[in-house]
Amino acid sequence: MHYSADEIMTVSAARMLRNGAVCFVGIGLPSKAANLARLTHAPELVLIYESGPIGAKPSVLPLSIGDGELCTTADTTVSTAEIFTFWLQGGKIDVGFLGAAQIDRFANINTTVIGDYDRPTVRLPGAGGAPEIAGSAGEVFIVLRQTQKTFVERLDFVTSVGHGEGGDYRKRIGLLGGGPAAVITDLGILRPHPTSKELTLTNIHPGVAIDQVRAMTGWSLSFSSSLEITPAPTTEELAVLRDLEQRTATAHGAAPV
């Protein structure tokens, strides 16, 4: 079955989530992947959104982090203060699932500005809950499209810490969560090297050339000696994903021009 680069990215990200895990979900690509996982191999995945819903089971993808359906399908909805204080900082989250505007070789993330902070070329939305998700979740998955603009040698701003300067950086500065375990892109999957923590390409999606991944990375990318080809999305995965996207489009509609 034919599939797009975005589809294999979403499917690969969804496969990362084990059934029963407690997952703190960012809006956009992370939410799409987490809901795909819940609708395929991980029906008992617990989705927590920062607006307060715990155990949300939306039938369509929320446009915002606080769409009503997240609350009405949740096991419970608590205050935003409680979500961050008790549930995230309190160590109840297995997996944090984040997007990013820029990422570096140690999976540090920028979602604040492109260019100088005081005179930015592009003002991005800012931190949201990402810094504390990156700090406190048991492990972190990051999903974003891989380009020269997103995979950069040096971040314009460190909004959320991945593996910092590499090695045992997280431990040294006292971060309790495990940090990024995988970065899933439209070209492949990168994982931190066991000791240096530098992102290493461990999976390449079918039909993607190594030179293409290299060209879309702003630093000299390391490749795993046991580089694997990502299994193509199954017919079921694609059918569920497309059905979810279709339901979502019908629910939110297109803006009239």
Partner: protein
């Protein structure tokens, strides 16, 4: 005790130029009608506080009511940028907007400290990020028991909290349900509290443990049905995701933005039930 007031009277009396104003609502129950009234009354030099500035702050900033913003995430959720916010930060239009930013957990701690009467909130956070480099008010303290290094964020104590709720009774007790965000914390941290509501009822009949703001912590309750539109009020109407997408187009150019505000907000003499007006989207253009 809260007074039941027309929204225009509440804003006129309780929101002054130069105030620190927190219009809260985490995607749900965003106080659009109250924000529009603040714009209509041409308040100036406000410090706007909000975890997630969305369309209402885009409109308020674009209309020049604010000279400072304290926030943690400023975007049009699921759609993209807030073009008026970006224009203010990137090109100082219509005025130079000072920005102070935290993370969500940082904002939460600052509101909780404000509500708790403490000078600061504390949390694990900001370590290794660039946020303390651009916000000098993010400091650190050492835990006296474990020696752990923790972040310290000064309390937020707004002059006015502005929130929208589902309903109030005739004595001004307020009931909120669904995604309740940080409204309770913001209200209890503030000197004055304006609550707009979908309806005012004889009997509130809250279930036990419900989120209720008793009348005596609220300054004014104002009837504003549809007052959260295009955000939503659980049990009353859904979020109009189409309007959020449409706003991306309306707000891209200064001229189109100003025209929209003039026709739809400034020209009105009081609160407009935007939900009634815009639920049929064909009428917007």
């Amino acid at each position: 005790m809260a007074r039941i007031l027309p929204l225009a009277d509440a804003v006129s009396e309780l929101v002054q130029d130069g105030d620190q104003v927190a219009c809260e609502g985490f995607t749900h129950l965003i106080p659009f009608a109250a924000g529009h009234e603040i714009i209509r009354q041409e308040r100036k030099n406000l410090t706007l506080v909000r975890m997630t500035p969305d369309l209402i702050y885009d409109q308020m900033i674009g209309m020049g009511v604010a000279n400072k913003l304290l926030f943690s995430w400023g975007g049009n959720p699921g759609v993209g940028s807030l073009h008026r916010l970006r224009d203010a930060i990137e090109r100082q239009w219509p005025t130079n907007l000072a920005v102070e930013e935290l993370s969500h957990a940082g904002m939460v701690q600052a509101y909780m400290a404000g509500a708790a009467g403490l000078p600061f909130g504390t949390m694990r956070g900001f370590t290794g990020t660039d946020l303390p480099k651009v916000n000098a008010r993010i400091k650190s303290i050492t835990c006296p028991f474990t020696g752990e290094n923790l972040a310290a964020i000064p309390a937020i104590r707004p002059d006015v909290a502005v929130i929208h709720a589902q309903k109030a009774d005739r004595t001004g007790n307020v009931l909120i349900w669904g995604i309740i965000g940080v409204q309770k914390e913001a209200a209890l941290a503030s000197k004055r509290v304006i609550v707009t509501v979908e309806e005012i009822v004889d009997r509130l009949e809250p279930p036990p443990n419900a989120c209720v703001l008793p009348s005596w912590v609220v300054s004014a309750v104002c009837l504003a049905p549809g007052g959260a539109y295009p955000s939503y009020a659980q049990g009353y109407y859904d979020r109009d995701n189409r309007f959020y997408q449409l706003w991306d187009k309306i707000s891209r150019s200064r001229e189109q933005f100003l025209h929209w505000m003039k026709v739809n907000v400034l020209a009105a003499s009081g609160p407009v039930n935007f939900r009634e007006k815009f639920s049929n989207m064909e009428r917007v253009a």
